[in-house]
């Protein structure tokens, strides 16, 4: 196991054990470990900052509520993403948030920022079943097995959706890809 992964795994175990004992620092430690990733994931799923902040806060609230049942056995991160995903799906159902994020803001040069917005728009336009594997595997760099567990599908099904999603995204990007050449 690489050093970073081992360190994260040990820290996760420490915080989950502390959380089960009611240590008030524990949730803060878990939030510092995973807050940014969960926020980025929910933002990409929901398309706007405000809803992503709500979903992230609710995810960590659920961590606290389920603290007695959580085990530091390596499945915690998968569980965390699954909770975040379920919250995103609920929000999408409530608000039908499938359009381009109104507040998409990216730093960097104008050309790069335009390209990123184009990618974000193309991603948002994809059906959820294609977008989810792309967000988890290509944007969050999650391994196929773990992403399949988050989505509750088999690894071959995940790969099939991922490959189709990439092709669908390429078709949507069309001209932007040509201009990159």
């Amino acid at each position: 196991m690489p050093n970073d992964a081992l360190r994260d795994s040990l820290a996760e175990k420490k915080w989950l054990t502390a959380l089960a004992k009611g240590d008030p620092n524990a949730l803060g430690g878990i939030y510092e470990m995973y807050g940014e990733r969960i926020f980025r994931y929910t933002y990409r799923m929901l398309g706007n900052r405000s809803d992503a902040e709500d979903a992230t806060a609710e995810t960590f609230l659920r961590v606290l509520r389920r603290s007695a049942e959580l085990r530091a056995d390596g499945a915690f991160r998968t569980w965390l993403f699954r909770i975040a995903r379920n919250l995103c799906i609920d929000k999408m159902r409530q608000h039908k948030l499938m359009e381009l994020p109104a507040d998409a803001q990216y730093s960097g040069g104008e050309e790069k920022a335009t390209l990123r917005i184009t990618v974000q728009q193309a991603l948002s336009d994809l059906p959820t079943e294609y977008r989810e594997p792309l967000v988890l595997c290509d944007l969050e760099d999650m391994a196929a097995r773990e992403a399949a567990e988050v989505l509750k599908i088999s690894v071959p099904a995940l790969k099939s959706r991922l490959y189709r999603g990439r092709r669908a995204l390429r078709d949507k990007l069309g001209g932007a890809l040509e201009r990159m050449s």
Partner: protein
């Protein structure tokens, strides 16, 4: 080779999942097949583009707003991050 098989190989090529030897063979095959070359290059560019996307910025404001939402729900959460200056108590100006 049938097109479904090629398509699967291109999918693996785009995600850099092929062993180096097979990748070389794919690139060699693409020399003589323009449509295969286009499929391979555009799909790989798409994957690279997505991988390079830094994503939305997790700003200090978002970090603090999420904490505030948790406090508002009665959660006792403590972090090691320093309190932002705009939330610190300001001393009255002497004068």
């Amino acid at each position: 080779m049938n097109s479904d098989f090629y398509q699967k190989l291109v999918d693996l090529y785009a995600g850099r999942e092929l062993p180096a030897e097979l990748e070389d063979q794919m690139e060699l095959a693409a020399f003589n097949d323009q449509s295969l070359a286009h499929d391979m290059s555009t799909l790989r560019k798409t994957v690279d583009l997505v991988h390079e996307d830094p994503g939305p910025e997790f700003t200090e404001e978002s970090y603090q707003r999420i904490l505030m939402k948790l406090y508002a729900r009665g959660v006792d959460i403590q972090t090691n991050a320093p309190e932002p200056t705009h939330l610190q108590y300001q001393l009255p100006i002497q004068g």
